[in-house]
Amino acid sequence: MIEFTTWDIIRNLLLATRWTVLLSLVSFVGGGTAGLLLLFLRISKRKALRGFARYYIELFQGTPLLMQLFIAFFGLGLFGIDVPAWLAAGLALILWTASFLAEIWRGCVEAVAKGQWEASASLGMGRFQQMRYIILPQALKVAIPPTVGFSVQVVKGTALTSIIGFVELSKAGTVVTNATFQPFTIYGLVALIYFALCWPLSKSSQILERKLNVAHRNH
């Protein structure tokens, strides 16, 4: 059996971490965009659109991400649609992220005072203009800490893409463990790398939140 040096282990884990980071970025950027769209549907005046968004969120928040990934990759394949793994992973992560972000952001939009809607309406703004110029800029401030906080869940969520063949950080950990029989060293390293990725996000979310609270008190 081939011997892995400690450096081999670390190198391979770090190489796999690139996928974790890339997948996180994709799901975050894509999920943010889709989440914004979903947010518009969720607070739309049209009942059907609101209902659609509600059921969408219920579905994606109510089933394990693992199963969503599986169905995105293999389920579509069953219908003869050949989805490459990166697309399926991206798609599932984006849809999943969107469902959470839309819900987080809805709370932030609802936190904007009702008077702001009325004042902008009485100035003749349409609904999109109200969102674009009045509501979102104010909601954005409140939304940053929970959004950054949620990104930690996204980073950890990418671990599940191994079901559709991605050798990202945790899968690489398993594979290397199988080649070396050193589970504790390797899972320790894996945990450490995750912590190094996630902790700065958690921390900055906390700091932002504290800053915001101080800013609020000054008003």
Binding site: A119, L123, G124, M125
Partner: protein
């Protein structure tokens, strides 16, 4: 033809009818004070005129155009009628200037330099030209309310609706806002204002509307309404026995 024609307007929230058939015609240049007890429907009436609430019955027309509840008609209506609220509702993320410019550029597509000129002019008019770059939370309540007035005026409405615009102000700040309104009145702006400032209503208004339980209970020139209230409800409201 009157500027604002309100005919048999009814409005319910759920099963409670808040406006029970309102009729009111406002001529250009009129200054109308709406008074009445809390809950009598004053705010609701103003909100209906501005399309913030949809009416269940009757009709409202402004400058000949009837009020229909779709985005296009609503926008046309709101361009004609400005509204000012008790809580100022300035946009906290924009400067004073930004507050006055925004709706011009967004709604009317006025080019930015023109909008800015207009904004400065309107802010001068309410005595706040020097606060152009300040943020709302750096202003006193009275100043904020004057910015709100400037913001509405910049849209060049043909009438202005004011809902208790001095009620949230500390007593020493009320007069500065009323002074601005008084000036608007003398300049010929059509004004519909809900107010508790009886002295102001008496001095400035052409007509006073007393609302009671969702109806126009008494209406007339201030001298008549304040000096000779006809109904016991108005007498009680005014505290004369």
């Amino acid at each position: 033809m009157s500027l604002i024609e309100i005919t048999e307007v009814r409005k319910s929230f759920g099963s409670t009818e808040v406006l029970k058939g309102i009729n009111l015609d406002v001529e250009p240049g009129e200054v109308i004070a709406i008074i009445g007890k809390s809950g009598s429907g004053k705010s609701t009436l103003l909100r209906c005129i501005n399309g913030l609430e949809t009416i269940n019955n009757g009709s409202i027309s402004v400058a000949g155009a009837q009020f229909i509840d779709d985005e296009l008609h609503l926008k046309a209506l709101r361009l004609k009628v400005g509204m000012i609220f008790q809580q100022f509702n300035l946009f906290p993320h924009l400067t004073v200037g930004g507050n006055v410019i925004l709706s011009q550029t967004v709604v009317k597509k006025t080019p930015r330099p023109e909008a800015e000129t207009m904004a400065r002019k309107m802010l001068e008019r309410v005595g706040l030209g020097h606060k152009f770059d300040a943020y709302p939370d750096e202003l006193s309540g009275g100043q904020q309310q004057r910015v709100a007035i400037a913001r509405a005026l910049a849209m060049q409405p043909i009438a202005l609706l004011c809902d208790e615009i001095t009620s949230a102000l500390d007593p020493e700040l009320v007069s500065e806002v009323l002074a601005v309104v008084r000036e608007l009145a003398t300049e010929g702006m059509t004004l519909l204002m809900v107010t508790h400032e009886m002295k102001f209503a008496r001095d400035v208004c052409s007509r006073v509307v007393f609302m009671h339980q969702g109806r126009v209970h008494e209406i007339g020139p201030p001298e008549g309404v304040f000096a000779n209230p006809k109904t016991p409800e108005l007498r009680q409201f005014l505290g004369v026995h």
